[in-house]
Subunit: 433 residues, 4 copies
């Protein structure tokens, strides 16, 4: 790894594809975080890492064995052992602090690093042709966080240069977050104070409501409130032929729950979402199954609606358990509140984007229509008087977010760098000469 | 392994517990089959093994990687490499042929060897105290086939002695069957001719409708017809927050199928069973799930009712797929027809049992209330003019069949050997002196 | 109405068709009961009627307005006003007592009189050609009780003649029961003592497991235990467009209940049945529905299994209500225990049937595979030391029981009379000269 | 009925309560339409009525017997027989044409007249105290159309006075629409040309998103697209005890459909609604049910989303039928497209409302969050170059729309008249002197 090499579009694309190829899911981003730490350090940027920036209370942590396997795989795939050791065990966050030579605002830029669970499709994709399909089974960068991470690294280079040339005022924190998927990592970082004292927080998401490369959405609104949870049903085994009535069917309970979770009523006051993303149940074909687990999530336009949804979820889970004579337990594994961008900072992004020669269209705002751990950072900053924006970086996509053939258009990367940079200029963090 | 050492109750129990500890599921019985082959060979009994007695068309075969892992584990656990190689890859059947010195009937004794999928409970059981809880994760002898196998080995010793002493007439085939669970191995053995020309077929099951050690049920009737099948649903992924309507939800389809499979109507002409024993679905909590697989089975008193049930299953699967806009595929992985014991041979068992000093109670008949791969052998023999019986060997059980705390009472083992032996005497295969 | 006119097959058929045409459902059999009372009285047979033989605690009684409408319709259709007044309001039972001139056994013959709810099909049936399709909307003799009633009337004539000629010994009670459908009338009659002191109880059902006219099943076994119940769900209305989340959906709860009632597990110890026969729910298409009612029933081989089923039903009802945030109430509207015929009396029927020149085939026994209010009478008699039999009167049927095109074969009627009579001779109630 | 008596708030309230008391559901508004026709005629306003303004192709028409009963009830309740005859049989529309003395715009005012199905609560309401609870069983003005109708009658009086005093320019059509509930009447009126040539169309709804009396919402946007439909399932009866497998269960199919209709996925591009408002199924508790009917509706923000929803509905219906082996038929009984108010005409209403001394608050716009047959008129006018507005008349409500205790605040009535009138002045239909 050479520092100072993320300038051209090709360099950005190449770095992004390396991350894509070595996709690491939530809390397992050992290689990614170590790579970030190494690059920042190479640029002379002081870092905080691991337990310094990730609280030990973390939602949705994988099994220790999985965390350990991720650590060993990262070493196999070239992670710097010093940094890998610091982030192993699910402490995969890094914050770089670039301090300017003169007073100025405290700005935070936030980038998420994790891949999603899922098998990347092998057929007929650019990723296949160029050889960067994920080599890590069951992990796929199908939400574009590989792109986000590279944007952060590229901006680190520019900021280091500005610092060195004396054009940087105030302070920039480059926050590299683990475990955005599942809404797990944000709270754990915020709790360590990574955005304390921040006046301006910026972040972006690629390809959300912006499917043309060159388009910028100056600020997302209505990032959905969300809760992620697992439902565990426990019944009783029995021989399915001889004594089915002795069984208490956990898969049946899960099926009742799935149907009725999906059927939870729409809400008159705003949008809602309910998803059951995974299910595992049963032991043996010929036994009434005693165990079943569902991985689910709900989202809502507002925190009030989310609470209403969660009440319905409780009703469904309890009722499904009652019907089948089984017990049920709901385990919360992630969550975030609703959030919206700050209007003034949206103006900054809109103006910056309009000024960029790489940008072909600017939309002022759009509903995010998803939930994002960025809301933890946004709410923390806004509640303490700062401003925050989550803007949209347009990109042609090869498939839907979270779908097996998802990939971004690398041409979006230099556009993202340019828009971020022009925003920093506008808020007078860096001075244009 | 010493031949000729399965005489006392302690010897039988010890051999049974060794098999219990090294439980191997269907098509993976490499150590068990190799052990059987080694013992029979050690008794001078000619064997047919592997592809000789197991047709290559087998239902419900595990993945090659699983078969291979089973082979390697068996070697680790002491399997004779010569025999292990012959049965590896899912050809785990053995037939020993004991030929008498003078003409007589051709008799087949059939024993099944496989464990079930499932995790054996670790708490407070005799198996725990005596240290024979299954060391093979996910496999548990919770249907008593470990006992059946040991009965076969003990009878092999007796038959070898009879042969050597000149008191054996005709021919006995000792059929050791793999993959009874899931109704997979029977057809594959029958197709290789293992019961061709057989006049009398005997087998037993431990603990079915006979929960007192010392009880014998002289012949089961109404072994249920059954089919085992996997249902694969394939939909389309989508981001659960941004574009849920683009998804086609395979878990939803599976849930609809589960509920409606369980709700398939009772039948006026006889008993039916429907079970969904396992489910796996989805990729990621925050994506509409594109895949789901159900492992299911149906059973019925008669083949006609089974066909009716299978028609309803097809309706449910097709309808569930239509509702959710997904595709569905049903893969048959096992099955057996209905069967009943032959009345004359039931009389033989009843008489033999009544004569045994170890037997405390004899019931002439009982409905089996389960399905069993033995029906393949029974039907084949009966269709060609022979007689067949499946008798019940009473045993106090520590839990239901297929349940996590299932274990048999080893005191049943010498009873089983004695009843089998007296039956062979009655049909004049061996002559009592 | 002329007494002594139910001798020829034509006379029996004609009387049966008159009842068929004027079908009256449970507790509304005003015309039928009045006709029975008038005929018995015309034969000089003393009767008990109405409140004398029907306890005031009755399950599943229709609304007063419906009872009143039935009373007025019966008068319109020619019911004798004296008797109609005595049975109006849901007391539609009659018992005739024929006392012999010398001592002998006390015998009860039981006949049910009610039609079922349902619309009789209008197309292409004999009932249509001969003009006896039910003129009473929503009531259809689709279970053959019209035939049973006529058998009772014909036997009354014969018994009156025997009494008058001095060949009758002991006492015969001719019990005409209302409200067999729904298992409602039996208990209410038994509680008034109608079978107290009875040594022999006989009854028959037409066409059950006996689809050939001329066949007799000498005694049914395993009449199923059953319970009939209504489930009332109460939720909360809301505008389906503006505020669906304010609603609590009673139809949804009913749908969850229907699916899961049908999915209640089979029982390893015997047959079960679950049916949801009617549903009514909701107020307006564009409002979340606040009310729904299900009419359901369960049946089982044994009372123990029935209790198990009812526990599952409770679980389903409570769970469905919990899921949807509604309240639920289960109202029991009918029920009967399991019962079987007495072996000695089965022998009597078998022997009587074998002697009848009209009978072409005799089967000793068959499972009833349904439930029947006759079980109340059977159990009461058997518990007090008497014997009871429910025999099957073969009849070709034009459709399944309870189906819209159901009709019986009138040729079965004289066969039924003859078999009953020969039974009475065998138990020496009447003496053959 | 005296013309010119709807000026004071008391007069308006009294007229409204008379309509409330005699609530008539869709296509049955015989008394209401006859009353409207009589009042308009009494004011010297020429009318078109019945088949002149209602096309014979009407969705969701009740049974002829119900229409006939409505006609006879209307006569009993004092309807003018001449007008009643003209609207009987489901032609219950009236249009009054008030022609000014000089040229001017063609304006249409549209009012809907029908009550909803539903039982009005009897307890503790003002309607109870003042004695105007609906006397027509099963019909309840729980959507405020009684208020709308009275507004139309009051405006007719004012317009007749303006016409007579020479201050009316152009032409006003007072459109009194039947069958708004269920989205049935609008299309049938539009097809007869009632809004041909209209430049300005105004209408209002009471209490939608405006729960304070005195509030005006100057124009609703996003009136939802909607379709109303009945789903008819037809299966096969069978005896639930003897031969349940012979049945094809229509209630089960309906239950599957209900669950899966409610579970149709949310849509990423806009709001959706699915409701099942009524269900009727089955014939007899003890028979597998052969028939079931569901009354349902879907709504969506856009016509595109509605089409997507309807495709899912088809999938659910077909799949539910397949699962249960029954047939299904979807009958469309109502529907309307999405619509929004014209911005310029919203400005007119906002300005008029701001000028009214009776109005306490003006909101420019709100999403309607429901569907309304007004959209047929709006779209027809807008497609031909006219402008249309649907404004909100604030009213405190005693319960949700469509709920059993719904009633409006009569104090809203004079406010509505005033705002309408000021709008007419603003568009220079009437000249303020």
């Amino acid at each position: 790894l050479e520092p100072a090499n993320l300038r051209s579009g090709d360099e950005l694309a190449s770095a992004r594809r390396d991350l894509h190829r070595h996709a690491e899911p939530a809390w397992c981003e050992v290689r990614t975080a170590a790579l970030v730490a190494a690059r920042l350090s190479g640029l002379g940027i002081p870092i905080k890492i691991g337990r310094e920036v990730v609280h030990s209370e973390r939602l949705g942590l994988p099994e220790p064995s999985e965390l350990d396997a991720a650590y060993r795989r990262a070493l196999d795939q070239g992670a710097d052992p010093r940094f890998a050791a610091l982030v192993a065990g699910g402490f995969t966050g890094v914050v770089g602090i670039v301090a300017g030579s003169s007073p100025g605002p405290t700005v935070a830029l936030r980038f998420d690093m994790d891949a999603n669970y899922g098998r990347e499709a092998r057929d007929g994709q650019r990723a296949s042709e160029l050889g960067y399909i994920s080599v890590n089974a069951g992990a796929h960068h199908n939400c574009g966080h590989d792109a986000h991470t590279v944007l952060g690294l590229a901006l680190a280079e520019r900021l280091a240069l500005a610092r060195d040339s004396g054009t940087l005022h105030g302070e920039v924190r480059l926050i590299f977050q683990p475990a955005e998927e599942g809404l797990r990592g944000g709270r754990a970082m915020v709790r360590t104070g990574v955005v304390d004292g921040v006046s301006y927080l910026l972040g972006c998401h690629i390809g959300v409501q912006a499917l043309e490369t060159g388009t910028i959405i100056a600020g997302y609104d209505n990032i959905l409130a969300s809760q992620k949870f697992d439902i565990h049903f426990t019944g009783r085994n029995a021989h399915a032929g001889i004594s089915p009535h002795e069984g208490r069917n956990a898969i049946q309970a899960a099926a009742v729950a799935v149907q009725n979770l999906l059927a939870v009523s729409r809400h008159g006051a705003g949008d809602t979402r309910v998803n059951v993303g995974r299910i595992r149940g049963g032991e043996s074909r010929n036994a009434v199954p005693a165990t079943a687990t569902i991985q689910a999530e709900v989202r809502a336009d507002t925190n009030t609606i989310l609470r209403h949804l969660l009440q319905q979820v409780d009703n469904v889970v309890n009722g499904a358990a009652t019907i089948c004579g089984v017990t049920a337990r709901v385990e919360v594994v992630g969550g975030a509140d609703a959030a919206s961008s700050s209007a003034d900072l949206v103006d900054v992004v809109a103006s910056a984007a309009a000024a960029s020669p790489l940008v072909t269209a600017v939309r002022r705002a759009a509903d995010f229509k998803g939930s994002d751990d960025m809301s933890c950072f946004i709410n923390e900053v806004q509640e303490h008087g700062g401003q925050a924006v989550y803007f949209g970086l347009g990109s042609h996509l090869s498939d839907f977010h979270h779908a097996p053939r998802f990939d971004i258009d690398d041409a979006a990367l230099p556009i993202g760098v340019d828009v971020f940079w022009r925003c920093l200029e506008q808020i007078q963090l860096v001075v244009r000469r």
